[in-house]
Amino acid sequence: MDWIFFGEISLAGLAMGGLYSLIALGFVIIYKATRVINFAIGEIMMFAAYLFLAFAGGMELSAWIALPLAVIGGSLLGGVIEKTMIRPMLGESPISVVMVTIGIASILVGLVEFIWTADPQLLPSFLPREPVFIGPLYLAPKIAYGFLIGAALLIIYLLYFRFSRGGVALRATASDQAAAYSMGINVRRVFNMAWVFGSLAASLAGVLVAATGGLSPQFGIIGLSVLVVVIVGGLDSILGALIAGVFIGWLETVAGAYLGGEYRMPATFLVLAVILVIRPYGLFGTHEIERV
């Protein structure tokens, strides 16, 4: 066994898993607060990445200005979607709301093709390009720095949800909407806030992942593959999203390295199948979740 190789592969997998966690967080925040599974999260990621391309590439702004602008743009998009398309669906069946999110995803793909064409794109390079070594272990710089940026946002989120009034309101609404409403919490505002925060996490992940793997109108499919992470972790568990994201990222990479690239997805789906049999609500999810 070449332990150096295993260590390098594991590091790459864990770092990529960190970005999966960020995307999964986008799913979980929205589901936790509103009980809506947002199938358009991948397309929101994609839209934010295209915004970055427009700001940093087309308008030639500094990447460090373009990045927050793109992320804010993506989060605003989430807020607008909630207000104009999801809120009117309140009271409708979960399946109907899910179908709306799938429709939104298609609209976003069409919009992106119309504005930016269907050509594959590369984002302007903005992360350091010098190889990163942790001891003797090599780590691709884009993955390393992408992980650090993502981890910073995760920490900010965890602190916000733990200590801020908004975070308390969100957690209260997630626990019991009626009780939260009776205690004076503006539940509608919390719903909107959840979409904004969820889209913000996904948007940052979108830019970081696109900076590594390129961008096209089909980029949003990554969001769907992260659904495995969310189900394994538990649909309404932020901790579950973080742990499952890192684990699935690691597993996928190790399986790909030792068994071949065609085994990446089967390996993760095997874990999904086992988890669904043992704990249908996910590793850290709430038991009474009704699955779609």
Partner: protein, 402 residues
């Protein structure tokens, strides 16, 4: 962005009016002879739209050009197409609609999936010859696909040309090593087994083969695998852009002096436009001259003149355009040979005419005379990116596989 929207709108309007104009105007041009119909399932939207738009432009421009030259033996040409979004079911529906109403002599298929799916219907109808975007090795099986051909080398033949080039780089009996990197799709896997067999024949060691999932987000682990075996060449197949860029950049960051190569759809100028200086040295196998190459010839000059006429603002035409134009050239040659032999335009007669193509001068589209073998044109050349000049330059002679 606003300008982009306007340009896009203008282009769509232009395409629409062009299609409408062709549909309306062709009967007026028909003189006294029946029009010959070129049909097409074209992916103007969806995952392959980046190429489909240029394929459509190539077929449209060729049709305009051939009609300005008097058509085919006096028959005007009519190009009829439907957008398929690169979906097999929509492509099949488009074929049925067009073949039901227009009886196309030739047809452009947008994918291997569609061309395989439609084969039995094509065989039973027996009146249409088909080629298209696919270079799949399987489609050169004459028994199963007697009315379909490849407008260039198939993917296995492309690997053959690449491997011949690599073998030529061996010095003092020291043969270079190679790694194959391909996507986990039918497209990606197509030439791998044949490629390995050909490499063994040439004495080239395939030190690693790496399959990546489609839409791969990170290839760091795969790059680490390549670092262990340090191949002299990496051949990519089944990609358009990503993750080729990541492999190249990361392997160079590691200090490896590996050279990188790709097949047809991985050898567009898009790679230079998007990667910039990082694309320098990347090589591709291409059966046609690039639009901006220094080569010339009567047909290549005609293509450039027609392209300039149809869209003066676009200063370059991608490989999809060249490929579509060449498809239509072959259709024309086949139809002409069939009519000259005083035969009906049936699938059998056109397939026979295709097989008779020997030492055919393509007027500069391909740099040497070409001969059809197993319903394909097994010819190509290795081109290398000169990032400073922003274009591919030839680094080998034309290689015609026997």
């Amino acid at each position: 962005m606003f300008r982009n929207i306007l340009n896009k709108g203008r282009r769509l309007a232009g395409l629409g009016s062009l299609v409408a104009a062709l549909t309306v105007a062709t009967p007026a041009m028909a003189q006294d002879k029946e029009p010959i119909v070129f049909g097409g399932s074209i992916p103007l939207s969806g995952v392959f739209a980046f190429a489909g738009i240029h394929i459509h432009a190539g077929l449209t421009d060729y049709t305009d050009w051939i009609n300005s030259e008097g058509g085919i033996n006096g028959h005007p040409v009519k190009y009829v197409m439907e957008d398929t979004a690169y979906e097999v079911d929509r492509s099949v529906a488009a074929f049925k609609k067009i073949s039901g109403s227009e009886s196309p002599a030739t047809y452009y298929g947008d994918s291997t999936g569609f061309m395989k799916a439609i084969a039995s219907e094509l065989n039973s109808q027996g009146d249409t010859l088909m080629s298209g975007a696919s270079f799949a090795t399987a489609l050169t099986d004459n028994e199963q696909y007697p009315y379909q051909f490849i407008p260039g080398p198939n993917y296995s033949q492309m690997f053959g040309i690449i491997l011949e080039y690599i073998a030529d780089q061996g010095k003092d009996g020291d043969m270079p090593t190679v790694a194959f990197v391909y996507s986990d799709t039918e497209f990606g896997k197509d030439p791998i087994e044949n490629g390995k067999a050909r490499a063994a024949e040439l004495g080239i060691e395939v030190v690693e083969d790496i399959v990546t999932k489609p839409g791969s987000v990170d290839v760091s682990a795969e790059v680490l695998k390549l670092r262990r075996v340090r191949p002299d060449f990496v051949v990519f197949h089944g990609y358009v852009l990503s993750p080729i860029n990541e492999f190249m950049v990361q392997m160079r960051q590691m200090g490896l002096d590996t050279q990188f190569m790709g097949t047809f759809w991985s050898s567009d100028k898009l790679i230079i436009d998007k990667m910039g200086a990082d694309a320098d040295g990347y090589m591709g196998v291409m059966p046609y001259n690039y639009y901006d190459s220094e080569e010339s010839g009567p047909m290549l000059d005609a293509l450039r003149a027609q392209a300039e006429k149809s869209d003066p603002e676009a200063d370059y035409r991608p490989t999809g355009y060249m490929q579509a134009w060449f498809n239509a050239m072959v259709w024309t040659e086949v139809i002409k040979r069939t009519l000259d032999a005083d035969k009906e335009l049936t699938g059998d007669n056109m397939a026979e005419a295709l097989a008779s193509i020997k030492d055919w001068d393509t007027g500069g589209i391909i740099g040497i005379p070409v001969t059809v073998r197993d319903m394909s044109f097994p010819v190509g050349r290795i081109w290398r990116v000169n990032a400073e000049k922003g274009r591919y330059e030839p680094v080998s002679d034309w290689i015609h596989l026997d």
